[in-house]
């Protein structure tokens, strides 16, 4: 495939972006004096700064480029990742969970596990988290290089190293503060690049009526074909969607993944922290409309031979991640192409900076400080955080080269993340809402749940067990049930973690009420979590209810 030619205007746009990002790192360094400035951006940010950075950390390349590809594969079923797979969990975080996180003044999610359970639970969770972050970040780097190599003809090594060095530079200089501020710049650039795509795409296919004309019901509805796995492209039932995606995976990601929650921890007060995911939920809905809409436009173009639109095929395998770059190539003229390419660079960098800023915080606070150097001063922690960023990026580059030599690794990424997140959220939610769960109950629940998820995955991969063992309502070809298996595996991991935690708690000693105060719902000092009275329309509950109504209406319209 001939690479896209970039004009001087396109290069100039990229130059402006890179110049701003690096300059901002140096500018913000002056305001990064303490470890809290570096890891939590000084806890002085407004709800809009936190809310946009929260969403931007979620708008990495895999979420945008990856889900545009998933929309070609699964049609409107991919929108579930933006609806039931996001909105309820985001609202639950903002309305119910954030007061615990924020008021306990913890610096990370593993930090909450230490306070609620014990040191071992924290270190186990932190260890899983840092490994996951390196893998995610490495694979994102690889995908970026793949796209830039294929579409722009850029050198592989240059593509990998360029973004890595820029992210290393600004995250090392001022940590979360510059990660968040550049995420906000990136947020606007990403929208500038992708918001116009569905507008041009819809014009090209002749408006929304083309969806009904070209796509079968399974590809253009959300729920009407979810009664039987045979009737929809994801081979899933509504039970798997609600329990697996809506509950185990969505709550795991949105309520316990420190990568995004770290942004809310940097808020100046509790109301801003609670509004963070709620503001994010509006952008998540809009992002879903743009990403899934774009993917479905590509689907219509593919069904219409006269469009001349074809996905990239490599070694006989269709590359679904090529959808977004191919549409950018199809519609973007000089200048606009620069915005489109910069938007893709911004997605990669936002995702990677998010991974690295959460990686350095968890490594420093939850592994280095409690395990390696208990007496570290705040200044020492600041230095360790900066060094951890450099080390994390070097490890990510190594992971990117491993992914390049074994591309099948990418297929397993979502499976790996779901194995780790479901047990975490099971234990955190149980611990937060039920004081009966003991420290050993929490630890063993998390360990056994993670182990069970890994064993299920490996046993299915090496065919010791059949797919139907994992998916209770199994139907359809086994090779196409990858997503359904991910959803159900998360449900089993959740149930096994919760069950283990409850059983172990019957036989082990719990902490006293005084030790649990502030970390369990029934033991919270009401005066401490009470927020200053504000008008109803300024409350997280009000805006959460509005999102929820919009969410219900969308589900009904697209039923």
């Amino acid at each position: 495939m001939a690479p896209i030619h970039l004009s001087i205007f396109d290069w100039l746009i990229m130059l402006i972006y890179f110049g701003f990002v690096v300059w901002m790192g140096f500018y913000l360094k002056k305001f990064t004096r303490t470890d809290e400035d570096f890891f939590l951006a000084g806890r002085r940010n407004s709800m809009w700064v936190c809310g946009i950075a929260f969403m931007s950390a979620n708008m990495g390349s895999m979420e945008v480029i990856g889900y545009a590809g998933q929309s070609v594969k699964y049609g409107l079923y991919a929108a579930h990742f933006y609806l039931i797979g996001a909105v309820p969990a985001m609202l639950f975080l903002g309305v119910f969970m954030m007061p615990f996180y924020y008021h306990s003044k913890i610096k990370s999610i593993p930090g909450y596990l230490k306070a609620r359970f014990n040191e071992s639970t924290r270190v186990f969770n932190a260890g899983m988290f840092v490994v996951n972050m390196i893998l995610v970040s490495g694979i994102a780097l690889y995908l970026q290089a793949l796209i830039f190599h294929t579409f722009l003809g850029w050198n592989w090594d240059l593509s990998i190293w360029l973004s890595a060095v820029f992210v290393a530079l600004y995250v090392t200089l001022s940590g979360l503060l510059s990660a968040m501020f550049t995420e906000i710049l990136q947020f606007f650039l990403i929208w500038a690049g992708i918001l116009i795509l569905p507008i041009l795409g819809l014009t090209d296919i002749g408006g929304p009526a083309a969806f009904a004309a070209h796509l079968t019901e399974g590809f253009r509805t959300l729920w009407s074909t979810s009664g039987s796995p045979d009737s929809n492209p994801m081979y899933i039932t509504w039970g798997g969607l609600v329990l697996g995606l809506g509950f185990a995976i969505a709550f795991g990601y949105w309520t316990t993944d420190f990568l995004i929650i770290q942004r809310a921890f940097s808020a100046k007060d509790l109301r801003s922290a609670r509004m963070t995911p709620i503001i994010g939920s509006y952008f998540k809905l809009l992002l879903g409309a743009v990403v899934v809409g774009t993917g479905m436009i590509a689907l219509v173009l593919l069904k219409e031979p006269s469009s001349g639109f074809k996905l990239l095929v490599e070694n006989g395998k269709t590359n679904y991640d090529s959808v977004l770059p191919l549409l950018i190539r199809r519609y973007f003229n000089t200048g606009l192409m620069g915005v489109g390419v910069t938007s893709m660079v911004a997605m990669f960098m936002a995702g990677m900076a998010g991974n690295m800023s959460s990686f350095n915080a968890v490594w420093t606070y939850d592994i280095y400080h409690p395990v390696i150097n208990k007496n570290a001063t705040p200044q020492k922690l600041l230095h360790v955080g900066r060094a951890a960023t450099i080390a994390g990026i070097i490890l990510s580059i190594a992971a990117a080269y491993i992914a390049r030599s074994m591309p099948s690794v990418i297929d397993y990424l979502q499976a790996i993340s779901s194995m780790f997140l479901a047990p975490s959220v099971a234990i955190i939610i149980l611990g937060m809402f039920w004081k009966f769960i003991t420290p050993k109950g929490g630890l063993w629940g998390m360990l056994i749940g993670t182990l069970a998820a890994v064993l299920l995955f490996v046993a299915q991969e090496v065919k010791i067990i059949s797919v139907s063992f994992v998916i209770p309502d199994f139907s359809g070809p086994g090779s196409q049930t990858f997503m359904a298996a991910n959803f159900w595996r998360a449900v089993w991991a959740w149930l096994i973690s919760s069950g283990t935690a409850v059983i172990v708690s019957f036989f082990t000693k719990n902490k006293s009420d005084d030790e649990l105060r502030g970390y369990v719902r029934s033991l919270v000092d009401k005066n401490k979590v009470e927020e200053p009275k504000v008008a109803l329309y300024k409350t997280p509950e009000f805006w959460g209810a509005v999102t929820f109504i919009i969410f219900i209406i969308i589900n009904i319209i697209l039923w």
Binding site: A192, G335, G338, V339
Partner: protein, 74 residues
């Protein structure tokens, strides 16, 4: 140790980057009016780089005006 106490509002920088990028995009669109691109681009007759550039410029100007003199105490 630096002693800066006032930090520029992030929205100020958002305004600048949108304005600059919008200006380059608009310039590219105007350039294309006189020297059309020979690349195979669909809907090229819509001149999206012109009107999208203008929208981005307007967004940038709004952010700049609203945040011109705003600082955060640190």
């Amino acid at each position: 140790m630096q002693t800066e106490k006032k930090m520029r509002n992030i929205w100020f920088f958002v305004g600048w980057i949108l304005l600059l990028i919008g200006l380059v995009e608009l310039s590219a669109g105007v350039y294309n009016l006189y020297f059309p691109s020979d690349a195979d681009i669909k809907l090229i007759n819509l001149h999206a780089n012109i009107w999208w550039g203008v929208i981005i410029i307007i967004a940038g100007i709004v952010y700049l005006i609203k945040n011109w003199n705003k600082h955060i105490d640190v």
